[in-house]
Structures are given as structure tokens and as C-alpha cells.
């Protein structure tokens, strides 16, 4: 086990790669009452076409990673939530584009809870009956999101941007795709993606790092796994152009919701983390709540407090999302786009850059108070080959030239898509 100190942050991270391939990280937080642990597999909604180690290439129904996440909580001897509850732990899970995360938070019986987390995620139990029963629940989850205009406008934009890349597929799938899922398909996915060598275990909280690592190692030493092999994920070539320049959808909303963004060629940069942070500074500097443009749009009643921006990257995709509710979607898109094209020509001023950088560093340090955010962000950056605990250094090393270069690359009028949700005229 190795210990890596981060003196600036006053944190020490412990790490070991176990014999079965599992990467374990422990961040002790002396004085903290709670412990938060995540068990993450690199398997998300985009992994729908793949070749298992030594197997045949398969294509699986939309929403299967999320379905699998639901089903992991069922064990032959009952529901795993009850087991955690008896140990005072609150458990949960979530599925994103490129990973599935299982987690618990507890203040007591930490070792037993660590064992439970390792055990239930490494112990699939799917039957025809329990798979069938889950479909009703997931269809209600899908229906809940279908009525949610924020979700619809968000996903509508990704659907508008991507032609072939599976990032445009709804994480939960559709009622139809969910109904086609069988226990055999779930086992195929499980056996491919839940091998320890495809997973990361992260513990943060008031724990002793040596004891905790020993406990995890003992747990894993008692289990046998087939040898690990390479998983091949197959993505068709995503064309440069967006699929639709504009998508509209009708749902009852108080004001139209409008999101738009720019799709990037994901392969043009090697250092993904640096590019992500530069992109975040770019968007915040130009469109953040203290920017001149934000204030002008607010004064013109074109945006509300909910106006925001984000930057997303992952395997084979990179895009921005900008917008919120607005009385006039076309006007909003025009004004913001013009400002971005203008900035691409003339650049951002250095004092705005410095202030934005400060703001981002402060936000990062505030985030370090939250074990939940640390665990989730650490794993996300780790999967990209980065290190969460060195982000301050990356922020500090970014230059104005790099940000200005970013704006030029990003604000490309040919790669913009727009998604709008507004009320029908009925």
C-alpha cells in the first residue's frame, strides 16, 4: 500500500491495486464521524456494444446498465437495503454515461458495511421472476422522467447532437427496451464489466487506512475470479456534424426551456483533464453569474437565476450545455452565440480570467468538505487518467492563451445544436 501526501490540501491518499485487479483508494478524514464508500464499475449507458474477454461481440438493449444496477440490490436472502439498514448504513447507487456507482454512508459498523458492499456487488442474483418484477418499477421511473421538462430538454440536446454515439441514449432506456431485457443479458453484462479489474473502490471518512485496506484485502482474498481480460467497447464513428440543429418538444411549462451547446471532436486533445478545466473556466468567464453578458441577459429578462452552463466529456464525446428558461429561445441562442463567436475573435481579458480562476479554485476547495463529492469526482478523474487532488495545480498552471485557444476551438457555429421544450398551443 502506498501513501501519497498532498501537503497543499492537507490530505493523504492511500492506494493499492489488489491481486485480482481491483484498485482501492482510502482517504482518511480524521475527526469525521461518517464513512462514505463507493464501488464503481466502468460500465454505463454508453457501453451497449462490446466484446467480452474471449467472447463474441454483443449488442445489448438500451438501459441495461441501469437495469443491472437496480437488480444488484436483490439477494437470495432478501433485499440488501435491509441488511445495510440493520448496520445503520444508508445505501444507494446510480448509473451515468460511463459508470455505475454503488455506495453507502455509515457512522458505525464500518467494516461490516464494507463487506456488505463488496459482497452484494460481487454476488449477482437474477431470476426470470425478479427481472420481470423490476420492469414495472423502471417503467414508472422512465415515466417520471418523461414528465420532467428539465430532463427532457437536457436529453433532447444530446439527442440532437449525436448521430451514432450511444451517449444520446437515455440512461434508463425506453419502456420497450426495458421490457426486452432478460436475466441472461444481465449476466452477460455482469460477467463482462463487474470483474474487479474493471472496478474502483473508494473509502473516505474517519477510518484507519491500514485496517481498512486489510479488511478489503481479506474480503477479496476469499473470493475467486476468472482471469481478467480486455473488454473491447465498440463505438461507431461519430460524424462531425450534429444530428439536428434544432429539436423542439411540447410539455406544459411556465416558460420555454432552451438548452444549446457545441459538440467537439473528442480526439483532438490528449490531456482530457486540462481541457476540461480550461473549458470550465472559459464558460464561467463568459457566461457565469458575474459576467457582463449574464447581467445584460438578466436585465433584458431573457434569462432567470437558473441559467447555467456545463461541460461534459467522456469516452468518445465532449460537449457544452448552455441555457435555462427563457421567454425567447431564439433570441437567447443568438445573443449568447454571438458573444461566444466574438470572444473567439477577441479573446477574454486577463483580469476576468484571473477572477474566474480564483472562483474555480475556491469552489474546488469548498467541494473538498464533501465526502460524497470527493468520492465521485475522484473516481471520475481517475477514469480519465487524472488526479482530483492535483486540480488546484492544473488550475494554477492554465494560461490565458490556452483559454482563448479553447474558445476558438469550441465556439464553432457548424457544430451547434439547440433543444427547446415549450407548452403546446392546445
Amino acid at each position: 500500500m502506498s501513501a501519497k501526501p498532498y501537503p497543499k490540501l492537507q490530505e493523504t491518499l492511500w492506494h493499492e491495486k489488489l491481486d485480482n485487479g481491483l484498485e482501492v483508494f482510502i482517504l482518511p478524514k480524521p475527526g469525521f464521524t461518517k464513512t462514505y464508500a463507493t464501488f464503481t464499475t466502468r460500465f454505463g449507458s454508453i457501453d451497449n456494444h462490446f466484446t467480452p474477454p474471449g467472447g463474441e461481440t454483443i449488442r445489448v438493449p438500451d438501459g441495461i446498465a441501469h437495469f443491472l444496477e437496480h437488480k444488484m440490490f436483490e439477494e437470495p436472502d432478501g433485499d440488501i437495503f435491509s441488511k445495510f439498514a440493520s448496520q445503520g448504513a444508508s445505501a444507494n447507487a446510480y448509473t451515468s454515461f460511463d459508470r455505475t456507482v454503488y455506495l453507502f454512508t455509515a457512522t458505525d459498523e464500518i467494516e461490516a458495511n464494507l463487506d456488505t458492499l463488496l459482497h452484494f456487488v460481487q454476488n449477482p442474483y437474477f431470476t426470470d421472476e425478479n427481472v420481470e418484477k423490476e420492469k414495472g418499477i423502471i417503467v414508472q421511473e422512465i415515466d417520471m422522467y418523461r414528465d420532467n421538462p428539465d430532463w427532457r430538454v437536457y436529453f433532447g440536446l444530446i439527442e440532437a447532437m449525436y448521430q451514432t454515439h450511444p451517449v444520446h441514449i437515455d440512461i434508463a432506456g425506453t419502456a420497450e427496451s426495458v421490457r426486452s431485457i432478460t436475466k441472461e443479458m444481465l449476466y452477460d453484462c455482469y460477467n463482462t464489466f463487474y470483474h474487479p479489474s474493471n472496478m474502483t473502490f473508494f473509502v473516505v471518512g474517519g477510518v484507519d487506512p491500514q485496517e481498512t485496506m486489510e479488511r478489503i484485502k481479506r474480503n477479496q482474498a476469499n473470493k475467486t475470479f476468472p482471469p481478467s481480460g480486455e473488454i473491447k467497447r465498440l463505438f461507431e464513428n461519430e460524424p462531425e456534424k450534429v444530428k439536428d440543429e434544432k429539436r423542439e418538444l411540447q410539455l406544459p411549462v411556465s416558460l420555454p426551456k432552451c438548452l444549446f451547446g457545441f459538440k467537439e471532436d473528442p480526439d483532438e486533445h490528449k490531456d482530457d483533464v486540462r481541457k476540461e478545466l480550461a473549458s470550465k473556466i472559459m464558460l464561467e468567464a463568459l457566461l457565469g453569474s458575474s459576467s457582463a453578458l449574464y447581467q445584460q441577459l438578466y436585465d433584458d429578462n431573457l434569462i432567470s437565476d437558473g441559467f447555467g452552463q456545463e461541460y461534459n466529456t467522456g469516452p468518445g464525446y465532449a460537449f457544452s450545455i448552455i441555457g435555462g428558461e427563457t421567454r425567447d429561445p431564439d433570441e437567447l441562442v443568438t445573443q449568447v452565440s454571438e458573444a461566444l463567436y466574438e470572444a473567439a475573435k477577441n479573446g477574454i481579458s486577463s483580469d476576468i480570467f484571473e477572477r474566474t480562476r480564483r472562483k474555480k479554485i475556491g469552489a474546488f476547495l469548498r467541494m473538498m468538505n464533501s465526502p460524497e463529492s470527493i468520492a465521485s469526482e475522484f473516481t471520475r478523474y481517475r477514469h480519465k487518467g487524472g488526479d482530483l487532488f492535483t486540480l488546484v495545480e492544473v488550475y494554477e498552471s492554465l494560461t490565458l492563451e490556452e483559454i482563448n485557444e479553447r474558445v476558438k476551438e469550441h465556439a464553432n457555429p457548424d457544430r451547434r445544436a439547440i433543444s427547446i421544450v415549450r407548452s403546446g398551443t392546445a
Binding site: G31, S82, A85, R146, A292, N301, S304, K359
Partner: protein
């Protein structure tokens, strides 16, 4: 380990300081509460929206927000909510501890100066608010009120409480009433604000590497409040359920039905039975092992979510679930059976222990978040009780099945609210 709040008073302000080195930030919260009333609810709601636009030193919104960015991206915001029969405005400021960055100014000092100005030295035009800000924020608040309907889960929850409490001040939304906005102008709002400063109960909380003496000295320099002593909170008016359960059905363009129920809980945060009531809520619907989750979701596959929430300050319990419209009657029947089962004392000892363990875990976790510790302490101020984390845990541990059954007799269903689609069939 067990850090204690230090208490002080300065004029109308109660001071609560939690010296701790555990966090990377200083956390500041300022609570201002007044009794909910038809006449005041809207001007009080509008006040923080206008106060966040500018201060005497930073009268332009851009300079106000740039100041926050310069303070290492201090997190500043406010919330409006109801606690018992009071309307509370909470300002929050989260700023990093100086030791993580190289600055010459004291960031805590700057933060308190800033917050003091926000509350007591707003940007003015002569002797009234800037009308540009007042008019813009009237639009903002009006849009927020309208936007509640976009989120059907929240909309249904608020409508249910509004119907249940239609004869009480609690029916009023914390955001105020849209129809009253038109009557408010820069001068009437300023008058209402001055009155609010004279009458509201003010509590200022600071957590971080500091002391009461330091905070008090800083507050004296930066808070220019009217003279007087702190006001206290009055106990909420505890009501029983209406003699016959009312059923409200509302139709909108939705795919999924939202089923909500409102119950009178028979006790409040200040009551002796509160711990038993909290455990009751946990058994009924607070967790994934609770009756609602198990019976509505896991056994009947009717819903993705089915839970209960206790509003201890008002003494009401709300249940919520999203169900297929055709399954409305089945869901109501199953939920009512769970309420009856609780009255009959029909719950397993195992589930009681799980619920206690979960609640105790949640109470322990509060220690790890500065803002949660502040909220917990403020609940005492609101209710006139003196619970500590430890004493409350002891109360939860002492809850017996008999006391839960006793508390269950006082929980009465009052209102069933169903949000459904417009079609007649189903």
C-alpha cells in the same frame, strides 16, 4: 471531538459560534424569521431577492458578484422556507479558510463585512430601494412561482399541503403570492424591509477556525441593525385532521399520476413524543426498508418512489408516490393499509431496530457538515428545546414499540391529493 456552540447577543442578533478546525471553510448562516401572514408574506419573500442585487459598497450587481469571486469564489445564496408557522429567510456564505491560500486580508472578516452589508446596508436610491432592482426581482419571483408547476413532484407536494392547510397561514407559499407583487414598489418594499429588520428574529451562525470574541468584534463593526433585544419564536398551532378525509383531484397534461397524502401528526419537534414520531415516520416511509417502499414498490411494482416525510416543525406528515393513473385506487388502498398497520402496532422488531440505526446514523452524520450542524441547532432555537446530537440519539434509542403505537393513534389522514392526466378513462 464534541465541539460546542458559543453563544452571544449583540442587539437584536443572537450569535452562535462553533469553533472548529475540521473544515476547509468558514460557514456562515443568518436566519431571519417572522410569523407567516397574508399581508407580509410577499414583501418578506421579495426582500432577499432585492438584497442580493447590491450593497452600499457594491451597488452594481456585477461588482457585488465580482467581490464574491475575489473572495476565492465565496459561495453566497439564500433560501426561503416555512418552519412551523414562520416564514424564514436564510442567507448562507461559505468561504475558504485563509490557510489554504495566500491572502493578506482575513477572509472571515471580509465575509462578515459582506454579509452585514447585505442585510443592513443595501444599495439605495435616496431613501428607498433601487426601483430597477425591485422591478427585476418582482419578475424573477413571479417566474419562480410560475415555474413550480414544471416539476410535477414538487407541484403536487405543495398543492397537497395548501389544500390541507387552507384555513391556516401555513397555506401561504414561502415565495409569496404572485397577485400581491403588482402592489409592491421600491418605497413600500423599503418600508416593509425596515419593519422586518425591527421585528424579525435574527440568528447568526458562524462555524470555523474562530471564536465568539472574534466574531462578535467583527459583527459590531459590520451589522447596522436597529436597537433592541432578540425576538423569540412562538410555538406552532397544532391541529387535528378534518373529520372526513378530503380528496382533491387535479388534471394536467401528465403521463404519470402523482399521489400525495397529507396527515396531521399530533406532535411537533418541541413535543416529548417527537423521537417516537420520527421513528414512526421511518417505519412508515422514510427508508428503502419502510412499509411504503416495500409494499407499494417492491411487492406491488406500482411505483418507482413511495415515501413519507415528516415536517416536525409544523406537525404534519406527507406521503408521496408516482403511479400509473389507472393504479390510483390500488395505491391508495395499499398506502392506507400501511397507515392502519402502524396504528395496530403491526411492525417487526427488526424493522424498528433498522429504523433506529438509520436515524442514529443520520444524526451522527450531522457532525460532519457545518451547515447541517447549524440547521440542527437552529431547530432548537425555533422550538425552544435543548437537544444535542447525543441527547437526541439517546431519545431515539429509548423509543419502544408501545410508544410508536401510541404516537400512531395521533396520526390522522386529512387530505388525499391526486394529480392526473386530462383523459377521462383510466
Amino acid at each position: 471531538m464534541s465541539e460546542q456552540f458559543q453563544r452571544g447577543v449583540w442587539g437584536r442578533l443572537r450569535l452562535h459560534v462553533l469553533p472548529t478546525k475540521r473544515f476547509k471553510t468558514f460557514a456562515l448562516s443568518l436566519f431571519a424569521g417572522v410569523p407567516l401572514s397574508e399581508d407580509r408574506v410577499t414583501p418578506v419573500a421579495l426582500t432577499p431577492f432585492v438584497l442580493r442585487r447590491g450593497t452600499r459598497s457594491y451597488p452594481e450587481t456585477i461588482s457585488f458578484r465580482e467581490r464574491l469571486d475575489d473572495l476565492y469564489g465565496a459561495g453566497f445564496g439564500f433560501d426561503l422556507y416555512k418552519r412551523g408557522d414562520h416564514q424564514i429567510v436564510q442567507f448562507r456564505l461559505d468561504i475558504i479558510n485563509d490557510r489554504f491560500v495566500s491572502v493578506t486580508e482575513s477572509l472571515l472578516g471580509e465575509a462578515l463585512t459582506f454579509l452585514g452589508e447585505v442585510l443592513t446596508a443595501p444599495a439605495l436610491d435616496g431613501d428607498q430601494f433601487r426601483s430597477k432592482y425591485v422591478e427585476a426581482e418582482k419578475t424573477t419571483i413571479s417566474k419562480r412561482i410560475d415555474a413550480i408547476i414544471n416539476d410535477k413532484i414538487r407541484y403536487a407536494a405543495e398543492r397537497c399541503v395548501e389544500e390541507m392547510c387552507k384555513d391556516e397561514p401555513y397555506r401561504l407559499p414561502a415565495l409569496g403570492r404572485k397577485d400581491q407583487l403588482a402592489t409592491i414598489s421600491a418605497d413600500t418594499l423599503y418600508e416593509a424591509y425596515r419593519k422586518w429588520l425591527e421585528e424579525a428574529s435574527f440568528d447568526l451562525y458562524v462555524s470555523g477556525d474562530t471564536s465568539l470574541e472574534e466574531v462578535q468584534a467583527l459583527v459590531e463593526k459590520s451589522f447596522n441593525l436597529p436597537g433592541g433585544r432578540p425576538s423569540t419564536y412562538t410555538k406552532p398551532n397544532l391541529r387535528g385532521a378534518r373529520s372526513e378525509v378530503q380528496t382533491i383531484v387535479e388534471k394536467l397534461d401528465v403521463g404519470q399520476g402523482k399521489l400525495n397524502m397529507g396527515l396531521r401528526a399530533g406532535a411537533t419537534y418541541g413535543s416529548e413524543q417527537y423521537a417516537a414520531l420520527l421513528v414512526y415516520n421511518g417505519l412508515l416511509g422514510g427508508f428503502p426498508h419502510s412499509k411504503l417502499f416495500i409494499n407499494v414498490r417492491e411487492k406491488a411494482s406500482l411505483a418507482y418512489y413511495a415515501s413519507s416525510r415528516l415536517d416536525g416543525h409544523k406537525g404534519i406528515l406527507t406521503l408521496q408516490s408516482g403511479v400509473e393513473i389507472a393504479n390510483y385506487e390500488r395505491a391508495v388502498k395499499i398506502i392506507r393499509e400501511q397507515i392502519e398497520a402502524m396504528k395496530a402496532g403491526d411492525f417487526a422488531m427488526e424493522d424498528l431496530q433498522r429504523t433506529q440505526a438509520m436515524i442514529i446514523g443520520q444524526l451522527r452524520e450531522i457532525q460532519d457538515s457545518a451547515f447541517e450542524r447549524i440547521s440542527f441547532d437552529f431547530s432548537n432555537v425555533l422550538s425552544g428545546v435543548e437537544r444535542t446530537g447525543e441527547s437526541f440519539i439517546a431519545e431515539i434509542q429509548a423509543v419502544t414499540p408501545e410508544r410508536i403505537t401510541a404516537v400512531a393513534q395521533g396520526v390522522e389522514l386529512d387530505t388525499i391529493y391526486f394529480l392526473r392526466n386530462r383523459k377521462e378513462e383510466g
